[in-house]
Symmetry: C2
Subunit: 283 residues, 2 copies
């Protein structure tokens, strides 16, 4: 049976045509009755497994045995569900071993540096699970679509990103890049909910409507970024995300398959156990 | 009925005699059969409430309406359960709104600064729940017991801490300081478990045995710190922590009572809802 990683992975190379991926589809979920209930139930079980892997990853690094760490990069159109995914999936982990960073529009100070400068500073430490809520990919997405930099600049960033990510992989950072893929209709529904539900008013940003007008340009920019930067070392996955329960299920499985491959183990004792037991008994 | 805060709060002033608090007691838990099962069940429900408060606190700050934030300071003897408390209680919150910092022994660079320098940099931003795993209190605990600085230095730190915390309160930081109080026997049991359980070897640090020899000195140092720095603005609570299920229950309730008093609300809309709905329909 194909793994979820195989089903959702973007092939390296040409532009990806996002229109060919149905945002309401549920790849890898068995064809069953009540898939939503099933997916939620599995998420809970997989969440416990993730927490187990995370503790072993953390323990290994703490014992100095490895520099291994995980980095989840989340990208999406506005309302794509990045925050919800963090709450529902990353919320299953031990918060003490998690490093979450939201990359907003670069500040004036950040703009004076290379676009990767602020990103390098936030790479998770060994043993940690890092999450980028938006990332250096904004520099080939919004920066390109809204013309913040000329083509001469953004066009060379794909190679810069690939080099940067290769460096991270050399430092034992395992990278999982996920694009949460929603439809324009689903975005409208979610924006409308923010205007109708008093518990969601605070999420509404009028600037999102301006971005929405550039939907096609963003999809094209995503297509280039995903295709050109989905490498063997740092693959991109497209997760159909109109259905939140599938989105969470899929991201949890991507993490689980990746962590299972890393297969972290509790480290052996670093002390003479018998001797320490005797010392302890004497206190 | 007394609140958990009232039951566990340290009065301001003189040295606290920690020996007068039974680490196996369960103040505030109704006298019932199977208290452990009940406490765990309540923790789960209170956890959901905490997540609700947290979202409203975050939403308020995001809307710019307030600089309010929460800071939980956790202190304990080794094996006192700081990590477990974070996993079990703080793990109920949305990790994206949480800022956890572990303060280890100061680095040479940190030692060149005032002891509060590194702490100020980690104060949570508006809307966030910050957690200090150890804190500036180490500078009147280990620094005093192990003689890292002369009495002339550490003895004035209580006042410096009180001033610092008053500043934070002025910046709308609500401070909850919790000492997880275990017995020396319980510490021995937990240290032994780290020498007997292969999934816990990595937590064992031989230096903990050296610290353990100074138990009485630490209890005295805690007694001074708790009494002198339990102020109206930033109270200390002593949580009996030999029983992990009580510890988690109590910390969750301390947070809940504090957040209920803050009573954060979803902010009102910052836009003309009807106008935005019409704009959205036109996209």
């Amino acid at each position: 049976m194909a793994t979820i990683r195989e089903l959702l992975r973007v092939p390296h190379g040409d532009t990806v045509d996002l229109a060919s991926v149905d945002p309401r589809s549920t790849p890898g979920l068995p064809d069953i009755r009540r898939p939503k209930a099933k997916a939620r139930e599995q998420l809970s079980r997989v969440g416990d497994e993730l927490a187990g892997y995370q503790e072993r990853l953390y323990a290994q690094a703490k014992a100095g045995g490895t520099g291994r760490r995980l980095l989840l990069v989340l990208q999406a159109m506005d309302c794509g569900g990045k925050d919800g995914t963090i709450r529902k999936v990353i919320g299953r982990l031990n918060p003490q071993g998690v490093h979450i960073v939201s990359f907003g529009p670069p500040t004036p100070a950040e703009r004076r540096h290379h676009f990767l400068w602020r990103v390098r500073r936030e790479v998770p430490r060994p043993g940690y699970v890092g999450v980028f809520n938006r990332s250096h990919y904004e520099d080939v997405l919004v920066a390109r679509v809204r013309g913040a930099v000329p083509e001469r600049i953004w066009s060379r960033r794909y190679d810069e990103i690939n080099s940067f990510e290769r460096e991270l992989v050399d430092e034992q950072v395992t990278i999982i890049k996920v694009m949460l893929h929603i439809s324009p209709d689903e975005q409208r529904r979610r924006l409308r909910a923010r205007l109708e539900d008093p518990t969601k008013y605070w999420k509404y940003d009028p600037a999102d409507l301006e971005e929405r007008r550039h939907w096609a340009d963003y999809q094209a920019a995503y297509g280039d970024a995903l295709g050109r930067c989905s490498t063997d070392e740092a693959p991109w996955y497209v997760v159909p995300a109109d259905r939140k329960w599938y989105r969470d299920w899929a991201v949890a499985h991507l993490l689980r398959e990746t962590l299972a491959e890393l297969d972290p183990h509790y480290p052996p004792p670093s002390v003479d156990l018998a001797r320490e037991k005797a010392r302890l008994a004497g206190t």
